[in-house]
Amino acid sequence: MSASSQSARASGRFAAVILIIFALVYGYFGATVEYSFSSDPIGPRGFPVALAVTLAAFGVYYLLNPGEAEAWPEREGRNAALVFLVLSALCVLGMDHLGFIPAMAVLMAGIARLFGATWPFAIGSGIAQAVLWWSLFGPVLGGNLPKGPLGF
């Protein structure tokens, strides 16, 4: 058996364990939903409990037959994904403080860089996209976008 299919099996097994744990936690909360009474014999707990049991059963099957999975990314790809997520979170959280256009311009430029744009192109398209989306969703569609100290 090749190394890649072995690692695929390992990640499949790991995912199966997570799913089973999730099923148990979900099932616990589902079985303890509070209610006074229901007009039907199943009640609000029945469906969640049945789903938890089903997911746990499929999880066990998946654990025993992990099947195929794509290989996880190499370091470069992993780092790119992390940069994307951290930058997105920071810019989304920063929208209220910096304003929509500055925060979005930073994010757009950063993503452009991740996809191989040179700095001048990345910054140029970042600012252009931020202004474009702001004007589309703000003035044109009448949305309520976050305003920073500069008012946009």
Binding site: S39, P48, Y62, A80, I111, N144
Partner: protein
């Protein structure tokens, strides 16, 4: 049978605002179809919140989203032919004969032939849907909670035909989708489930947040990983237009492919990619006497294009008439209806004739618009294939953030969307498909509520689930659709082995 609903529908679809919206949908659809980076389900997920928050009425939103969906089936061929990379899943077969033609310098002819066969497939399928939709509407009143429940059983049974080679992953995805629907106030008892005292969770997980996270964000993450830098160079659009003789030559292959595509599209769980594959192999088997298929035969180009358009249109039949999505994309559209407090199901036709009629009428108009967009204007889209990812992906990200933010005005929802996106990415890497999750999410509540209502009405008597002709028919159909693939395999195995 009365077609009044269709005339009323044309009244809706021909309103200037809806004409414009239909045009935008078709244009974006062609573009989204042409760009390999983004498929119709992504396009719909991104456009839905814009339509919803800018206050478009339900029928206009549906016209827009549907235009994107069937428009993408037109657009997908452009990149198949010019860069040998299918623009979307339905256009895989188009590359087989389309790309060799483009290499021979016949790109213009290839694009025109496939555009015309797309139109034939799309138009005939709309005609079929026009007459089928009212038939199902007649059944609406017969659907009580018990029948709805069995209908949902049937819908989930159709997943059996959707499963890939790892059925357990489809089933797990479906259960995850179902679990997500149980968050919020229980519609039957009023109990609060999985809300953890957060009023924001009382109405459950927001559909828009879920869809954009699962599809768009996970897609961006996958593309980051593959580091798709730069673009592929499309071949030039050169050569002559097709002649009338060419069109006569593809007429019957297109008609056959339309029938195949429509039937495959109507069957829940299968879609454009299956339809185009089946129709291509059918034509090859029927007509490939000189071994021209695969080397630039226009019949091999026309058949899959007619089929994928017919399938995309056919997928609206179960969606509009039964409220059962035929594909991930129609599941998102059903979710869109729910945002508007419109409950999909057999009563949709009788309660919302304006909506159903407007949508169907818009499809006639949309196919004509698409023919125009895809014959003389095809150069415009071919040029857009040059759009680099470093412009495209930031745009997709911006639309994702804006879609969620403008719908809920909450930074928290945007962050949750990214979280769901990471979850979707991990599942996709592990070989899970996102469509079953959406299917489970859209159908789950309907299934639970109707089962419990049925049992509330019967006082706990299970017999109510088998008490009407309609429900028994649906049970039989559910069993049949699960058993059918197995029976066909057995039958094939027997006919393959030499007779004893």
């Amino acid at each position: 049978m009365s077609l009044d609903y269709l005339w009323q529908g044309f009244g809706v679809a021909l309103m200037p605002s809806n004409l414009l919206i239909g045009f935008i949908g078709c244009f974006l659809g062609t573009l989204i179809g042409a760009l390999p980076a983004i498929g119709p389900i992504n396009g719909i997920a991104l456009l839905l919140p814009i339509a919803y928050t800018s206050g478009l009425p339900a029928e206009s939103t549906l016209i827009l989203l549907a235009g994107i969906y069937y428009g993408a089936e037109y657009g997908g061929r452009i990149s198949s032919i010019l860069i040998n990379v299918p623009g979307d899943a339905g256009a895989v077969m188009t590359a087989i004969d389309g790309y060799p033609m483009a290499r021979k310098g016949e790109a213009t002819k290839a694009l025109a032939i496939s555009g015309i066969s797309s139109f034939i497939g799309g138009m005939l399928a709309v005609l079929a849907i026009t007459f089928l939709a009212p038939l199902f509407g007649l059944l609406a009143i017969k659907f009580g909670p018990a029948e709805y429940f069995v209908l949902m059983v049937f819908a989930f049974a159709t997943l059996g035909s959707m499963v890939g080679h790892e059925p357990v992953k489809t089933l797990i995805g479906c259960v995850i989708g179902l679990m997500l629907t149980t968050i919020g106030i229980d519609a039957t008892s009023g109990a609060y489930r999985f809300t953890f005292d957060q009023p924001e969770l009382h109405d459950g997980i927001e559909f828009i947040v879920l869809v954009i996270g699962l599809f768009s964000i996970s897609e961006v993450l996958l593309m980051l990983e593959h580091q798709m830098k730069g673009t592929l160079k499309p071949l030039a659009v050169t050569g002559k237009y097709p002649t009338w003789a060419d069109i006569r030559y593809i007429w019957w292959p297109s008609i056959r492919a339309t029938v195949i595509g429509f039937v495959v599209g109507v069957l829940p769980g299968t879609g454009a990619s299956v339809a185009s594959a089946v129709s291509y192999t059918t034509e090859k088997r029927l007509n490939d006497r000189d071994g021209t298929f695969g080397k630039g035969d226009i019949r091999g180009l026309a058949a899959p294009e007619a089929a994928n358009n017919a399938a995309a249109t056919g997928a609206f039949v179960p969606m509009l008439t039964l409220g059962v999505p035929g594909s991930g994309t129609t599941a998102v559209m059903l979710g869109a209806l729910m945002l508007y407090n419109i409950q999909p199901g057999p009563q949709l036709f009788t309660e919302q004739p304006k909506l159903v009629g407007g949508l169907i009428a818009s499809m006639y108009i949309g196919n004509i618009l698409l023919l125009i967009l895809n014959l003389p204007l095809v150069q415009v889209f071919a040029r857009m294939l040059l759009l680099p990812n470093w412009i495209l992906i930031p745009g997709i990200t911006a639309l994702s953030i804006l879609g969620v933010y403008s719908a809920y005005s909450s930074v928290m929802s945007v962050l949750i969307m990214f979280g769901i996106g990471v979850g979707g990415y991990l599942l996709r890497k592990l070989g899970f498909d996102m469509a079953p999750i959406i299917l489970g999410f859209v159908l789950g509540k309907v299934m639970e509520v109707n089962l419990r209502n049925a049992l509330a009405i019967s006082g706990g008597e299970i017999g109510i689930l088998f008490s009407s002709v309609l429900s028994i028919t649906l049970w039989i159909m559910a069993v049949a659709i699960v058993a059918l693939p197995w029976v066909i395999r057995r039958w094939q195995a027997r006919s393959a082995s030499p007779a004893q």
